[in-house]
Symmetry: C2
Subunit: 343 residues, 2 copies
C-alpha cells in the first residue's frame, strides 16, 4: 500500500478518472490505473440475456452471445486510448468540460474479435454508408431533453479496417466492467470517444448518423469538423512542472503518439525552443501505441530550467507552438513546456 499511485478523480458521476502520468514505469497501463471517461452512470448488465445485435442494412442480422464471441477467432492489438479532452486544462483561456491534465490517455493490449469478421458474417448490403455502435450506458444530457444511450458511428470504410476489434480482454484478462465488459469497440488511432464501451448493438445505415455524441459533442467548433484521429502529441511524464531537483543526472521521460502518421522523433529543448536535442526511444514503434521516449539530463548548475518537448511525424508535421483553441476544448496538442528548479 505504500507509494501507491492513484487515478486522479475528475468527476464521480459519471465517473471520470485520470491516469497518473508520473507513474509511467511500463508502456502498458495496469487496468486499475487506466483512465476512465464515462458519459453516463454505469449500465446494469444481465449476462443471462446479454447479446450483441448486428442489424440494419445486412443480409444476415446477427445476435452474438458472450459465449459466441468467445468462440470466434481472437486477435490481440496494443492500442493507446486518449480522450479527446486530454490536456484540456492547458487551454488558454480555459474551456468548458473536465479539466484533464496529462493523463487522459492510457495504453493496453486489447484482445477480441475483428469487427470486420462480424460485419462480413452479417453480409452488409451495398448501400451501407455508416455503422453505428450503441452502448448500454444511458442517461440525461445538460443541453437537451430526454434519455440518450451513448452511441457513435464510423464510416463504413473505417469500420472495415481489419484492426478494429470487439474487445473481450484487456491486458490478457477479461475486460473489466469499468472498461466496457462484456464487449468494447476498439478503434485504433482515434480518440477514445469512438471506442464504445458496454456494446449492445451495431447497426448499418445508409445516411450520416447525427446523434448528439457525434454531431453536438466531439466536434471542433472552430472548424465544424468532427473529432476523429489522435493528433500528433507528446507528453513529459517526469519531471513534473515546478518540480525541485538536486544537481546531478535526471531522466526525462514521456510519451509520444499520433493517430495519423508514425512519430519519427521527439526532441527536447532547454532554451524555449531555440535549440533542440533528440530524445531516445524506450519502446519500439507500433502502429497504434504511445511510444515512450527518454533523455538523460545532467543538471550541473543551480537555476531555473524551462523544458519543452515536441514530436515530429513521418509526414513532416511538428506539434504546434500554440494549441488550436476550440470552444469545447478538444485535441490539445501544443508543445508541452514545464519549469523545474535545480537547487
Amino acid at each position: 500500500m505504500l507509494y501507491t499511485p492513484h487515478l486522479t478523480t475528475r468527476k464521480i458521476m459519471p465517473e471520470m478518472q485520470e491516469f497518473p502520468m508520473l507513474s509511467l514505469s511500463s508502456r502498458i497501463t495496469p487496468e486499475h490505473l487506466f483512465y476512465i471517461r464515462n458519459h453516463f452512470p454505469y449500465p446494469i448488465i444481465d449476462m443471462r440475456t446479454w447479446g450483441l445485435q448486428i442489424n440494419g442494412l445486412v443480409n444476415r442480422p446477427l445476435y452474438l452471445r458472450y459465449h459466441d464471441l468467445l468462440q470466434m477467432h481472437q486477435v490481440s492489438i496494443p492500442v493507446t486510448l486518449e480522450c479527446a479532452g486530454e490536456k484540456r486544462a492547458l487551454f488558454v483561456p480555459k474551456t468548458r468540460g473536465e479539466q484533464w491534465e496529462l493523463g487522459a490517455s492510457s495504453h493496453a493490449v486489447w484482445t477480441g474479435v475483428r469487427l470486420m469478421d462480424i460485419l462480413k458474417a452479417a453480409c452488409i448490403l451495398p448501400n451501407a454508408m455508416e455503422v453505428t455502435f450503441e452502448g448500454m450506458d444511458k442517461g440525461v444530457r445538460t443541453d437537451m431533453q430526454g434519455i440518450f444511450t451513448y452511441m457513435r458511428s464510423l464510416p463504413i470504410k473505417e469500420a472495415l479496417n481489419p484492426d478494429l476489434l470487439i474487445a473481450l480482454y484487456m491486458n490478457g484478462k477479461p475486460l473489466p466492467f469499468r472498461h466496457g465488459y462484456p464487449a468494447r469497440l476498439i478503434v485504433p488511432g482515434w480518440y477514445g470517444m469512438a471506442s464504445v464501451k458496454w456494446l449492445q448493438r451495431i447497426t448499418i445505415i445508409d445516411q450520416p448518423f447525427k446523434g448528439p455524441f457525434q454531431a453536438v459533442d466531439y466536434v471542433y467548433v472552430n472548424t465544424a469538423k468532427p473529432v476523429e484521429t489522435i493528433r500528433l502529441n507528446s507528453t513529459i511524464a517526469q519531471p513534473s512542472d515546478q518540480q525541485v531537483l538536486a544537481k546531478g543526472e535526471h531522466l526525462l521521460l514521456g510519451t509520444a503518439i499520433s493517430g495519423d502518421s508514425p512519430v519519427l522523433f521527439v526532441e527536447v529543448s532547454f532554451d524555449n525552443g531555440m535549440t533542440w536535442q533528440p530524445a531516445s526511444w524506450l519502446d519500439p514503434h507500433e502502429s497504434y501505441s504511445w511510444r515512450r521516449w527518454c533523455l538523460k539530463w545532467t543538471a550541473t548548475n543551480s537555476g531555473t530550467y524551462d523544458i519543452s518537448v515536441r514530436a515530429t511525424d513521418a509526414a513532416g508535421n511538428v506539434q504546434p507552438e500554440i494549441a488550436d483553441w476550440n470552444e469545447k476544448g478538444y485535441g490539445y496538442n501544443a508543445i508541452q513546456k514545464i519549469r523545474v528548479y535545480v537547487d
Copy 2:
C-alpha cells in the same frame, strides 16, 4: 469499486497525495482519502524497540513506550490539517514545489495524550525556550549535503497549549502508518508541517531551533516570517471549475477555515464580487475544524457564470482578492473563483 474517489497522486517518492475535494460528503475525511505530504521515504519502525524520548532541559527525562502512551489519559480533538502549500497551483506566476490544488487539506478526529501532560511529567526547566519534535523519517535534501531527519520546533508557550496532542488514534482507529503511526504530534490551527509524524524525540532547548524545515522551508520568503497558523481560507468543493450544468437547482458546497480567529460567515458572489450572498453552514463551529458551507442555487438561464467565495472571520478579516505571492508558494488564501456553464 464503482464511483470510487481516489487520492490525487502528486508525487510518488516521497509520497504526496491530495484529498479529492469533490467528494466532500462528510466533514470527516476517511483515512484512506486523507491527504499525504511526506518529506522523506517512509521510516522503518521496529515496535519492539520504539519509544518516545523526552529530553533536553527537563528534570525528569522520559522514555515512553507505545504501551505507556496507551495507558495515559486520552483526549479526542477534531482537527483539520492543511498543507502550507495548499492551492499552490493557483499562484500566478506559478511557484516551485508540489502543485497542490484544492485538496491539500483534510479533517479527522485525533485521539491521544496531551503534549502538556507529557511535558509536565518531564518537569521542564525555567530556561526552556522551544520544544523540538523529531520524526523517524529521514533522507536527503536537494539544497544541502547530508542526511536529515524531519524535525520542527514550537515556542514553549505554544507547546503548552492544552489542545496539542501526541495522537495515537485517527477517527477512532489506531493511527495508520501512512499518517504517523505509532505517534504523531497534532498542532491544531497550524499548517500541517508542524504536526510531525512518526515521532521519536521531543527535546526542550533554550534557543531558537534552526533546522532546515524551520529556517529554510516553511518561511514566507517575501517577509522572512515563518509559516505558522492556517490563514483564513475558503474553498468551493462543488461544482468544479469549468463544469457544465443543466438548468435547475444546484448545491454549491465547500469548506472554510482559519487558524487564527473563528470564521464568522461565508459569502458567494455570482457577479465577480459586486454583490455577495451569505452561504449556510452545514456544520457547527469547532475551534480547529473546517466548517462546510452550502448554498442552493437555481440556474434558470443558460449562460456562463463566474462564482466566487470568500470567508470573513470574527476579527473582521476577509480573504484577499489576490494571493500573497511568495517564492516557495505558501499560504495561498485568495478568494477562489470558478466558472461554470449552464446549458
